[in-house]
């Protein structure tokens, strides 16, 4: 594992916006942990209910048969296989049906036909789930094709799916925020952070296909400030810790130019984006890429306008501290 160290983590007075964002995220994390788990429990119960899943699949196949033009090649091939009786593909389609907004809307609005009992049973359960969705923070605050109102483009950045998701984003927010905020100021930092988040969401929605799974998390925004940092510090030496094990000889510090880190992140997000299927939807790589591009553009603008404390930017690098011993 290789990890940037930069300037370390500064205090609140030196990085107020960074810490402010951190605490807002923390507050929403605590709120989401206290929410009732009924939505997750009911979802699990539904997915375990073979009767419900079988009914959903049959309805979805019916719907897809009538609306093939709405779907890409992957869905069409899955449909063909499911129609010919292939059990695995039937199961996959049954799961994918949940994410298809147009199908759910159609099925709820249609009067039950054929196996009326099964149809009514499905409708009843789906309505229950949609109702419970409203109590779930991810659906209340996340952005998706179901709800992409203006407020959601901001709110989604402050909600996380779990502690590890939160931790992963916040550690990078603190590291890069503390390095950037003293240079570009509070306003510049907030502009970069929120702007990257907004455009990250935009790119995500563009590539989310038919899926209605909501986007949550600060990844897009954090990717933006990471990209901004990498561009502003392009040729400067950046301290990285590398770590393989818990011993002096299995860890150390290395200095690499910042553009390498940008290259690594961009490449891995691009690879993730290319390797995922847009028809399956909900892949956050597109949000990362959107955020990175925004951060890069803002970085270029700031660079040319010299907005911020550019003297500080160059003063931070101390040649004599280039060599350090760890352990």
């Amino acid at each position: 594992m290789i990890f940037p160290l930069l300037n370390g983590i500064l205090g609140f007075s030196k990085a107020p916006a960074t810490w402010g964002l951190f605490f807002i995220n923390l507050l929403f994390l605590i709120m989401s942990m206290e929410q009732p788990k009924s939505f997750e429990l009911n979802m699990k119960k539904l997915f375990d209910d073979k009767y419900f899943v079988a009914t959903q699949t049959n309805l979805y196949l019916d719907y897809m048969g009538k609306n093939q033009y709405l779907y890409g090649d992957l869905h069409k091939n899955l449909y063909k296989k499911a129609k010919s009786g292939s059990k695995d593909q039937i199961e996959i389609l049954g799961q994918l049906a949940f994410k298809d907004k147009k199908f759910i809307d159609w099925a709820l609005a249609t009067k039950p036909y054929a196996d009326v009992v099964a149809f009514e049973y499905w409708q009843k359960n789906i309505k229950e789930i949609l109702y419970l969705q409203k109590t779930n923070m991810s659906y209340k605050m996340g952005v998706s094709l179901n709800d992409f109102s203006f407020a959601r483009w901001f709110s989604y950045q402050f909600i996380h799916s779990g502690f590890m998701h939160f931790f992963g984003n916040m550690i990078f927010l603190l590291i890069f925020g503390c390095a950037l905020e003293p240079v570009i100021g509070v306003f510049g930092f907030l502009l970069a952070y929120l702007g990257s988040g907004i455009l990250g969401a935009g790119v995500f929605l563009l590539f989310s296909g038919p899926s209605v799974a909501p986007l949550v998390g600060a990844s897009g925004a954090v990717s933006g400030i990471m990209a901004l940092f990498a561009l502003l510090y392009a040729h400067r030496k950046v301290k990285f810790i590398w770590f393989v094990g818990f011993s002096e000889s299995l860890s150390g510090v290395v200095y690499l130019p910042a553009w390498i880190s940008f290259f690594m992140w961009l490449v891995s997000d691009l690879a993730g984006f290319i390797s995922s299927s847009e028809e399956l939807g909900g892949i956050a790589y597109s949000a990362h890429l959107g955020g990175e591009m925004t951060g890069a553009i803002i970085g270029i603008i700031l660079f040319f306008t010299r907005y911020g404390n550019w003297d500080d930017l160059f003063a931070h690098q101390d040649e004599s501290s280039a060599t350090k011993t760890i352990g």
Partner: protein, 643 residues
């Protein structure tokens, strides 16, 4: 460890440090080489590989979803080749041009020819890089040569005629110590032992699978044939019943006779729904399929009469709604000549299970010749004759279907006869009915065919030694979750049986403990013993088996200790309510029992809970409806108000 920033330093010329000290080879430290490899992999190679293989990963994902195995394997191989090539090109290029990869440059290491100490040639770089990548596939185990070779050369260094040297002052390593050499020897020995054991086990498993292949193929083949049998059966349905030879009607008949699975029946029902045909039958079929989900099943049954209140299916559904003893009799009375076959098959199966052999034979004979279900009908006839002690007729009938059936079908036909014959005498093990079981080799085969019990009894019959019998009991019962086979304990006398059961009931295998309790309850237990059984029962996980045991205990305790029985009944009631098991007769009996114990409030609470259910799942172990219920109900209503 000390690392310096190399990017803004001046470009280094040919390493004069090495040239001057030729007789001292500055071998690189293993940890520096390791760290350099980490930097190479994480910072350079991985991003490139990720990017280049991402389109292939997408293809792998899509082909996996589509179940296209050959394409999936193709893309997997392509991504593997791409990964290999990227790493090879990177290693070869940097080693040849710069004498070091980027990671090595950071740590000031260099790859030189071991004899001339100059940069490697292209071929040397290529061989070295190729071997390095092969070592990566082997989890870098061959690179442990760095810790044992005198010149700290790994296998890829030997192939590439190279050595990695350190250009930093003070950053070099000495030859491996004795500890390092012993450590490497130890690791290699462990790996060799592991592979020997692993390969041996794989060979043995493969041998077993090959030997068992035909048997497994037979099972799968039979399972595969079940679904297509509906169409075949409909085509061969007898002429006199042609009017009801609708596909779905045939499917329900086949399901009633156990010839097709629930999945097949559901497929047929869905097919009918999609064509809007035989909706009453389709709903009935679904009600059977989802009989364990009461809410769903009830909804289907209700729907049948909404579609056509005069249909046979509607009448059947109403009879099913009232499935207690009285309901059963009405059900049987309703059967006429024109009653659909599936109806009759369902009834006759129940008759045989209830031991009503005369009635079942009469009904079976009225069915005539029904070739699609002939095997089922004949086996029921055979069972009925056996039940009436007409052994000759029973044997003749089962023999007639036996010969044309596959091994699995033979075992299904024979297992109950063999088991029952062995109950009389172990000499029955030489009969045709038991012969098919003697060829079974493994317990897995036995469990799969549901003939475990019979096989176990055969095992027990093969020895008179009680200790050996006990060994068989413990060995087989513990190995499988089908420990219901403890029933063979009938071969022991009462005292030793209870003793054995008590010792078996305390294992870590909860399933075995449950089945042991089930057997224990059948014995003549006194109050104390029963109380212990109840205590054990309460500590078990609640599931259908727990429920069954509870019912057995309840039935026994009614005569032993009514108060205990009532408390057990309350526990069972709670379970029933949680799991939507609706058992009217049992609730009624509990109300009467509670009343007799003067627990009026508790009885009233139970009475209020007696539901108006639709589909009743009959349970053979519950006592029949009590006669005093109406009186009790009136009395409780007076006390506590109208229901």
């Amino acid at each position: 460890m000390v690392i310096e920033n190399t990017f803004l330093d001046k470009k280094q010329s040919q390493n004069s440090f090495v040239d001057k000290q030729l007789k001292y080879i500055q071998m690189a430290k293993p940890v520096d080489r390791f760290a350099a490899a980490v930097i190479d992999i994480i910072s350079v190679v991985s991003p490139l590989i990720l990017l280049l293989t991402s389109p292939m990963k997408k293809q792998i994902l899509e082909t996996t979803l589509l179940g296209q195995e050959s394409e999936m394997v193709f893309w997997f191989v392509m991504s593997f080749i791409a990964t290999f090539l990227v790493s090879l090109v990177y290693q070869t290029f940097f080693t040849y041009v710069y004498g070091a990869t980027l990671g090595k440059m950071i740590f000031k290491l260099k790859v030189v020819n071991v004899w001339t100490h100059k940069n490697l040639s292209f071929s040397e770089s290529l061989f070295r890089g190729f071997t390095w990548n092969v070592e990566a596939l082997l989890l870098f185990i061959p690179t442990m040569g760095i810790m044992s070779h005198q010149q700290r050369r790994a296998f890829h260094d030997i192939i590439g005629e190279s050595q990695v040297v350190c250009l930093r002052e003070g950053g070099f390593s000495l030859s491996p110590t004795e500890f390092e050499k012993s450590f490497v020897k130890g690791v290699f020995s462990s790996i060799v032992v592991f592979f020997v054991v692993f390969l041996s086990s794989q060979v043995m498993t493969a041998f077993y699978l090959i030997k068992d292949y035909d048997y497994q193929a037979g099972l799968l083949e039979e399972q595969g044939d079940l679904c297509s049998s509906v169409g075949k059966a409909a085509n061969t349905w007898p002429n006199e019943n042609k009017s009801e030879a609708k596909r779905l009607s045939v499917a329900i008949s086949l399901y009633s006779s156990g010839e097709i699975s629930k999945d097949c029946l559901e497929q047929e029902a869905d097919f009918a729904f999609s064509y809007n045909e035989d909706l009453d039958l389709a709903n009935l079929a679904k009600a059977f399929v989802y009989s364990q989900q009461v809410e769903v099943s009830d909804a289907y049954l209700e729907r049948i009469c909404n579609i056509d209140s005069n249909s046979i299916s509607c009448k059947l559904s109403k009879n099913i709604e009232n499935w207690d003893e009285e309901g059963r009799h009405n059900f049987i009375k309703d059967i006429k000549k024109e009653t659909p076959v599936f109806y009759k098959l369902w009834v006759v199966r129940d008759m045989v299970e209830q031991g009503e052999y005369r009635a079942s034979l009469k009904l079976l004979n009225s069915l005539g010749v029904l070739s699609p279900v002939s095997s089922f009908v004949t086996s029921l006839k055979s069972k009925s004759y056996f039940g009436l002690n007409k052994i000759v007729e029973a044997d003749l009938l089962s023999h007639s279907i036996y010969e044309n059936s596959k091994k699995i079908a033979q075992m299904r036909i024979s297992k109950w006869k063999c088991y029952n014959k062995l109950a009389d005498s172990c000499t029955a093990r030489t009969t045709e009915d038991c012969a098919v079981f003697t060829s079974l080799k493994s317990n897995d085969e036995v469990v799969q065919t549901g003939t475990f019990l019979t096989s176990l009894k055969l095992n027990m019959c093969s020895t008179n030694d009680l200790n050996e019998q006990k060994m068989i009991l413990k060995k087989i019962a513990r190995r499988t979750s089908s420990s219901k086979n403890l029933q063979y304990l009938n071969l022991f006398n009462n005292k030793s049986k209870i003793k054995l059961l008590n010792s078996l009931g305390k294992t870590t295998d909860e399933d075995l403990n449950k089945y042991t309790l089930l057997e224990l309850v059948k014995e003549n237990l006194n109050n104390q013993e029963m109380a212990k059984v109840v205590e054990s029962w309460r500590g078990l996980t609640q599931d259908s088996l727990w429920h069954k045991i509870g019912n057995q205990i309840y039935n026994k305790s009614i005569y032993l200790n009514k108060s205990l029985a009532y408390n057990i009944g309350i526990d069972i009631l709670e379970f029933d309510q949680k799991n939507l098991i609706l058992n009217k007769p049992f609730y009624k009996q509990l109300v009467v029992l509670g009343y007799s114990l003067k627990k009026y409030k508790s009885a009233w609470d139970i009475l209020k809970k007696i539901p108006q259910h639709k589909l009743f799942i009959p349970s053979r172990n519950i006592a029949s409806t009590t006669k005093n219920y109406d009186k009790v109900k009136r009395s409780l209503s007076k006390r506590f108000g109208q229901q």
